[in-house]
């Protein structure tokens, strides 16, 4: 065990040294506040739901326990998914593995040290954000201190079980497939499962539950609530333990927690035993899989971009080629595709005709909100693709720095490379959803123009803030969106979209109502319309220029 502790020490020291660093105080504070905000939100929602369940006579407890069971199944699924990705990185893809494997330490101990790290990394956030759910149960059911202790007793083995199962899956799969490809496959599968679940949920048409004629199906549903989950699921052991603790049955709670613990320890033992046989073979295979020859000779892009000036063409072609050849990007493209399909599908199932509000009014109101929603979808896509555009240069950034191109030009080229596809995407989204809503021509023109104005600003914020907070050393630059800079981008983009929407809302309503009533606009109303749209236009220009300037300055300072 001493060797395992030695192997874990660099991580502990790095963590300790990070605490000594003077920089990052503000970042920590901002993250802390936002984290606390979400934590409180989760607590408030779960507490409210549980209080509501308590008021439902007869089935309140059934619903509460069903919810607890569902939370634990979701918790366990998230842990499995997160553990697979983390253990793949920790066991096979980390940069320091060459050093670690050259040390005179048995391989199973290397595995154990890495697995412990992976378990902690993949579990902590899931635990932190599910704790408020359990606390709300404790408060609503007025449980004693034992329940709080039981939360730890139930969750700890669940995390270990998920991590051990994931490690076993990864250990055996890497023997068949190269580790780099597995990560893409699992990310892909994860999103596929999510989409299937979502589509299945949508096909159930939950909105029908509000109709009285569908009551019989609700009763059938309620009957299914009492069906217990499979006793083979580790989340069921945790559920049984927590349920017993909630009702004050200490003996039963401890029995199920002990069952859960014994399952976790056994699986951990099996994982270490399997590591003796499989770990090094898989690791060795991952190294060999690196030297993958690739024949490529595409002249099409060169011809297509021949109208661009040299540096712009160089970056455009480089960006497209590296994007398509990086398998980790494929799952992201799939995610974006799924996001768009879901978004458009939701509009197609809106029961507008059943609404008590006048349809023309509602269609145009939704169309107006749709502009903001499209911009939020754009923000999510920009965060994933454009924000890491500077960080993705990585170590070869020296090529840009030593090349005959200014940082300013480099950033503007990046902006245009990402702007074109994102603008096309946003316009397709807004036009498709507006067609589904059968909006008036005025709203169609307004939406198309507004999105045309919003998109450059959002993309410029992504590029600018991505340049201001770059991470050239990250093994996965796409994750930089979860950094402080990514958070700032999300907040700024949302503020910008919100401001533009508010600026347009009043004048559009006035114009729309005047058209509906057949009145003309007064001079004052005209002035208001022109003023609002002028300010929106000005803001859109500033949203392009200011973040780009900020990004350039910060990037230059960070490189000194």
């Amino acid at each position: 065990m001493r060797q395992v502790i030695f192997l874990l020490k660099p991580r502990l020291w790095s963590f300790k040294n990070r605490g000594h660093a003077k920089k990052g105080g503000i970042r920590l504070f901002v993250f802390g506040v936002i984290g606390l905000f979400f934590w409180t939100g989760i607590f408030a929602v779960s507490y409210r739901v549980l209080v509501y369940f308590q008021q439902v006579e007869g089935i309140g407890d059934i619903l509460a326990y069903k919810l607890l069971s569902m939370v634990l199944v979701t918790f366990f699924s998230l842990l499995i998914f997160s553990s697979i990705l983390t253990s793949l990185s920790k066991l096979y893809l980390s940069r320091d593995l060459s050093l670690v494997h050259s040390l005179p330490v048995p391989r199973e101990k290397i595995f154990l040290a890495r697995w412990i790290e992976s378990t902690l990394d993949s579990s902590w956030m899931v635990i932190v954000y599910t704790i408020p759910v359990f606390i709300s149960y404790a408060i609503v059911y007025e449980s004693g201190l034992f329940f709080y202790a039981n939360i730890a007793l139930a969750l700890f083995p669940l995390c270990v079980t998920a991590s051990a199962l994931s490690a076993l899956v990864v250990l055996t799969t890497v023997i068949i497939l190269p580790a780099r490809r597995i990560r893409s496959i699992f990310v892909f599968l994860g999103f596929a499962v999510f989409i299937i679940l979502y589509v299945a949920f949508r096909l159930l048409r939950p909105e029908r539950l509000v109709n009285p004629e569908d009551c019989s199906s609700v009763l059938v549903y309620l009957r299914s609530l009492n069906t217990p989950a499979s006793p083979l699921l580790p989340s069921t052991w945790a559920f049984d333990s927590l349920k017993a603790a909630l009702s004050g049955d200490v003996r039963n709670a401890l029995f199920h927690a002990a069952l859960s613990c014994s399952g976790a320890v056994s699986l951990a033992f099996v994982a270490v035993w399997a590591a003796k046989t499989f770990y090094f073979r898989g690791f060795s295979k991952t190294q060999a899989a690196l030297a993958r020859p690739f024949q490529a000779q595409s002249r099409g892009l060169n011809i297509f971009f021949s109208f661009l000036p040299g540096p712009a063409r160089a970056f455009a072609i480089k960006e497209i080629k590296t994007f398509w050849r990086d398998q980790t990007q494929w799952s992201q493209i799939f995610l974006v595709g799924a996001l768009i399909v879901i978004y458009i599908y939701n509009f197609s199932v809106l029961p507008l005709e059943k609404s008590p509000i006048q349809t023309v009014y509602l269609q145009n109101l939704l169309s107006f909100l749709n502009m903001a929603l499209t911009a939020f979808v754009l923000t999510a896509v920009t965060a994933r693709f454009a924000f890491p555009a500077v960080s993705i240069e990585g170590n070869p950034f020296w090529i840009v720095r030593s090349g005959p191109i200014s940082i300013r030009a480099f950033l503007w080229i990046k902006l245009f490379i990402y702007l074109v596809p994102l603008l096309i995407l946003s316009e397709i989204l807004i036009v498709a959803t507006n067609l589904l809503l059968h909006v008036t021509p005025l709203m169609m023109y307004l939406s198309v123009i507004t999105v045309f104005l919003l998109t450059p600003g959002v993309v410029a914020m992504g590029i600018g803030l991505g340049a201001a907070y770059p991470d050239f050393t990250s093994e996965n630059p796409a994750q930089s969106v979860t950094s402080f800079g990514g958070l700032m981008f999300m907040i700024l983009s949302a503020t910008y979209i919100g401001t533009i929407t508010i600026l347009e809302a009043g004048p559009v309503y006035t114009v729309f109502m005047a058209g509906l009533r057949g009145h003309g606009l007064s001079y004052l109303q005209w002035a208001w319309v022109v003023g609002s749209f002028s300010v929106a236009f000005l803001l859109s220009i500033l949203a392009i220029v200011l973040p780009m300037r900020f990004g350039r300055k910060r990037l230059l300072v960070s490189l000194i």
Binding site: P311, R313, A314, I317, K321, P396, W398, S406, L559
Partner: protein, 244 residues
């Protein structure tokens, strides 16, 4: 061709490079040697426009790097010690990228690229992804890319790291040929034998100060030594400096 005037770089209280004054003429091969942490790479990074000096200036072919960085960089071919490249491009695509960046005409590019790739024995693997290349192959590709636009000044940080004996021979011969054509070569190295064999003049930097410059004979005089090699001169001068 290269002028460094009062060039300094400070990191807080640490003076990595201190008031460096140096001039390298066209066609000259200048060797820049010094112990680890002496300031060699920092100087090269400032010369290549990768790092802004705290004070002083870098003039390349009469162009101030601080005032007109793009024009100055166009004159330089920079070869760093670590060949970090875009791993998802092929060797040929990387050269095409460099050519586009430096504004090399399409028709001239293919001829030059083929010539350089053949010279460095990379032509047969030019259409493979860079991620499949060995360290030495990446280093050869970086050198090919640096020479693609016929730079007036070549700045090299540890040119021979990762190269096999054949690669080293090719680079040595290439530097001599380029210098004979008027290209200035500024080369930082730990390989004292290489510096002795190839360089016209040598500068020794220690703790951020340029402690000696000149031909091997000049340095021997400075160290008050007779028939000795550069290695002994280097130890003598750097130890004297460390003791003082």
């Amino acid at each position: 061709m290269i002028q460094l005037k009062n060039l300094s770089k400070h990191y807080g209280d640490i003076k990595a490079v201190n008031r460096l004054n140096l001039s390298v003429s066209p066609g000259e091969i200048f060797g820049f040697i010094g112990p680890n942490g002496a300031g060699k790479t920092t100087t090269i990074r400032m010369m290549g426009g990768l790092l802004a000096p705290t004070e002083g200036s870098v003039i390349i072919c009469g162009i101030d790097m601080a005032r007109r960085p793009e024009r100055a960089k166009k004159k330089i071919g920079l070869i760093p010690d670590q060949p970090f490249l875009y791993e998802k491009l092929t060797g040929m695509e990387f050269l095409q990228f460099t050519a586009d960046l430096y504004g090399i005409k399409r028709d001239a590019f293919m001829e030059k690229a083929e010539k350089l790739l053949n010279m460095f024995s990379l032509f047969g693997r030019a259409h493979e992804l860079i991620e499949a290349y060995s360290h030495g192959m990446k280093q050869r590709l970086v050198i090919s890319a640096a020479l693609l636009h016929d730079p007036s000044v070549v700045i090299v940080d540890e040119p021979m790291v990762g190269l096999d004996p054949r690669g080293i021979k090719i680079v040595e011969d290439l530097f001599r040929t380029l210098a004979a054509r008027g290209t200035t070569i500024f080369m930082s190295t730990h390989a004292l034998k290489l510096a002795e064999d190839v360089c016209d003049r040598i500068g020794i930097i220690n703790k951020g100060f340029l402690i000696a410059t000149g031909t091997l004979t000049d340095l021997k005089h400075a160290a008050n030594m007779g028939e000795v090699d550069l290695e002994q001169v280097f130890f003598q001068l750097t130890e004297e400096e460390s003791a003082s």
